[in-house]
Assembly symmetry: D2
Homo-oligomer: 297 residues x 4
Amino acid sequence: MATVLGVNQYGKAESRVVRIVRDTPVHEIRDLNVSTSLRGDFSGAHTAGDQSQVLPTDTQKNTAFAYAKLHGITSPEDYALALGRRLLEATPAASAAQVRVEEYAWDRIGDHSFVRRGGAVRTAVVTVGRDESHVLSGVRDLVLLNSTDSEFKGFLEDEFTTLQEADDRILATSLEARWRHATTDLDATDWNASYDAVLARVLETFAGTYSRALQETLHAMGTAVLGDHPGIAEIRFSAPNKHHFLVDFTGFDVEGLTNDGEVFVAADRPYGLIEAQVTRDDAPPAGDAWLHVPGFV
Amino acid sequence: MATVLGVNQYGKAESRVVRIVRDTPVHEIRDLNVSTSLRGDFSGAHTAGDQSQVLPTDTQKNTAFAYAKLHGITSPEDYALALGRRLLEATPAASAAQVRVEEYAWDRIGDHSFVRRGGAVRTAVVTVGRDESHVLSGVRDLVLLNSTDSEFKGFLEDEFTTLQEADDRILATSLEARWRHATTDLDATDWNASYDAVLARVLETFAGTYSRALQETLHAMGTAVLGDHPGIAEIRFSAPNKHHFLVDFTGFDVEGLTNDGEVFVAADRPYGLIEAQVTRDDAPPAGDAWLHVPGFV
Amino acid sequence: MATVLGVNQYGKAESRVVRIVRDTPVHEIRDLNVSTSLRGDFSGAHTAGDQSQVLPTDTQKNTAFAYAKLHGITSPEDYALALGRRLLEATPAASAAQVRVEEYAWDRIGDHSFVRRGGAVRTAVVTVGRDESHVLSGVRDLVLLNSTDSEFKGFLEDEFTTLQEADDRILATSLEARWRHATTDLDATDWNASYDAVLARVLETFAGTYSRALQETLHAMGTAVLGDHPGIAEIRFSAPNKHHFLVDFTGFDVEGLTNDGEVFVAADRPYGLIEAQVTRDDAPPAGDAWLHVPGFV
Amino acid sequence: MATVLGVNQYGKAESRVVRIVRDTPVHEIRDLNVSTSLRGDFSGAHTAGDQSQVLPTDTQKNTAFAYAKLHGITSPEDYALALGRRLLEATPAASAAQVRVEEYAWDRIGDHSFVRRGGAVRTAVVTVGRDESHVLSGVRDLVLLNSTDSEFKGFLEDEFTTLQEADDRILATSLEARWRHATTDLDATDWNASYDAVLARVLETFAGTYSRALQETLHAMGTAVLGDHPGIAEIRFSAPNKHHFLVDFTGFDVEGLTNDGEVFVAADRPYGLIEAQVTRDDAPPAGDAWLHVPGFV
């Protein structure tokens, strides 16, 4: 037998790039967490300690900061495409560059003053290859809750099943979603408008769907997003079921104390975890769009 | 020599209490993290294993959930006062009950649908004693940034000083603040209005102050808040200086590439840490208001 | 166009299962974090709210706890195989069950007293299918450091490269590794002995390898492990390069103060990230062994 | 009314200082997280933006790294004393310097190769004043578990009490402890031997004490440590009660399945939290030894 080098990539993770646009007294801010990786034939580095084809991760980081100025940041996707193209161009041995971006939103409180918004984080994963490129837009830490219009019943039972059917429960999740763009003209896309529209549709669908399980809600969201956006080929979800258990007041010796869906304990662990994908039946192949995207198939 | 039992307290930390008000089709939500502690003469439990004076932490937790219904949650402070009074009443050996609350805000996206806001967390620490009670309102994780109007110069130097003076830098912090109410009529206070007003004043002062150091900004905030609110005796801050370092582009071989306060790296560790207190010169004594409040003197 | 349901799975994540064996006065402890998932044809739940084929995640959790007693825990792998087989058997619609386990080690300090060891966490991912099963053993949070015998030079340079060549640096990583067993007789494997042997070989190789880049060290580890263990088909690594930067003392006005590889600052972010795989050239197909394994291709 | 500046301090938190001693081919490593603060009359910085008395936090950080070489690190306490004295000397306006250190332990796997041990973190807080100094040694994240010899019964009950008495339960905690040295000759203390001895005594007492509540176990530990060490004035504990709940198997339809203290779920939140102090009755005053020590009175 012999051993061979398999799939590999290397890069610099979590460069915290903050870009201030100060062309006028009213400043703008973009606040990103940028990770880059290169894939390709780097076997020399693995087997012979030969770095001659290796663009250092330090240089990748430098490029990420320089491109915040040279190219600018109008959206995570646009910036990541430019950065990925540059890294691929600078590295002949690479077959593809992957750029992963998280963006933290800030709200304005003055001409040059901001308060960080918190809540959902916008994400993008861009893979630039020699022949084709892929863009995944996304969101994580989108914490949603419906206080009614959720049930769970009619499920399969076995000898370990003790769960009672629920006619009316809280449904809550901390949603992570990523969607793949099928558009061929990546440079003509208005990424910010697209993101805002998808996010709005997800929220609206969550609020408007009577849920017989989290699976059904995810599917409704996915179908709604694909229905609105012909340029989106597929959407994937990773959704923990953040359990809110009704607190049992029956043991308390207090007359008239009831709990009709009013007081819940928010539980940490364990939690349900639903992973699902909704795709267009005529979606172009995903290629390596999802390769090395943590937590997604 | 002999050993003696010193200061001690016990309780249940981090009960995640979620209260849904569903009296109408438009539901309301309050989402709290509640910690309770009892202090007093519990030496029997420590030295002789005698629990007869010990109200179990499990009971404290049960009471926290029950009071979300029995008393209701109109504000962290009001709920904490009611819960603290109850726990003290139920525990003859206790000299005081401390209730610590964090509140997570949600935004409405439907009649019974919500998205968690993220960002700053509202806090309250209430200490209910046999003779007097104290209320600390507060906020944490309030991440603020000014992209200009901040300098740092004229500082003390020694042989280890290498820092260059800065005429124009980013000033950023993740603010934690707590303020002590001196009002004697705690039950007549509009806690929500008070919190909103203090928070607005903090934001406005941060945005409006030219800063020669984070210390000066904190002092300005504290003075502004006390000036507005005669009922607030003092305010304390714990403020990490979240460093944003200007990225050095001079080593790059790119003609015309400059960085005039435009691209920064947001650093994690180490960070400056400023702790400060602004107090009214005629403030009533703090008593045990600040006892066991993590991170504050 | 139409939308279709793609890859999906659901389950209960992070059940914290603690098993005490108390058959004799000298107790034993196994401390696990258990996550289970089921895959297959659950389209009814997604598209029609039909749970009749869905074994609730609550039941999966119950089974995880029950099997800690019914089957017992002699190793993460053995327990996960038994649990996965049971879940698959109980769920006709499922095509496979995946069980992910983390184990936390404890050291004995008395007959029934333990102190948690900390450090590296042992992991296992078992996928039980109708026709075949896969076992991935692994470790995470294995923090390794060489204080010399590491260099990085001869690398590719471009106009953004400012990194200096290093002849002698600290090499450190927080290793995550997973290796796939190719043995067909899974029930005859001594999982604990195998894990101990692989871990020892990884440590020994790390300590004994002169490193011209982290890639070379990973490759050496992988080759060594595969060389020792004919039953292991492949091994994959995710290795952050935990940078330790030499502190620059030249700016200090202290006579004779030098830093010859003695004082370093341990940096948090950004960090290099190397992902690599070493595989046997005659390895049997991986099938769905790596499907839904976060952070690994 | 007027506002006045109250208690304040400033400094640099979490400098990650790694010191390699490489005088021989067998290297040594000390791995610290260092935070420094200065207190005193810094009102100019707060009220007038005057930094002339302010030794920058950047300089404090530089000094922390330089002292890893100039003074060396034989123990957290000895290093912190030297660093604190230096910072106080360099800052005329300061009345005291506080140095907080965490140390991460590594195990040797080669002459210059190490694996991080994990588990308990050693801590020290040193306060150097103009007239006197204080040393607190400590440990955190010391996770302990007794699988029997723990009960909880005979407790106070009210109308919200539903807890059942427990004759035999798991007792577990993630202990944080700090103890104050009363020795006047701080430079003659063997800090490492002292730490090892205290830690051993804590473990031994935990393992050897039948516990009628966590309070009793803490008190036994404190008394044992003070009994052994005349130079220790007091010890303080912050001890979460890490609940392990017996899993209820009675609902499962499996003949003969019992759970006699064998299978537990380790719960995250809420948790009991016991804070306690054992002190020598003739202990010298604590002065500002505990000022600004997070989580301790």
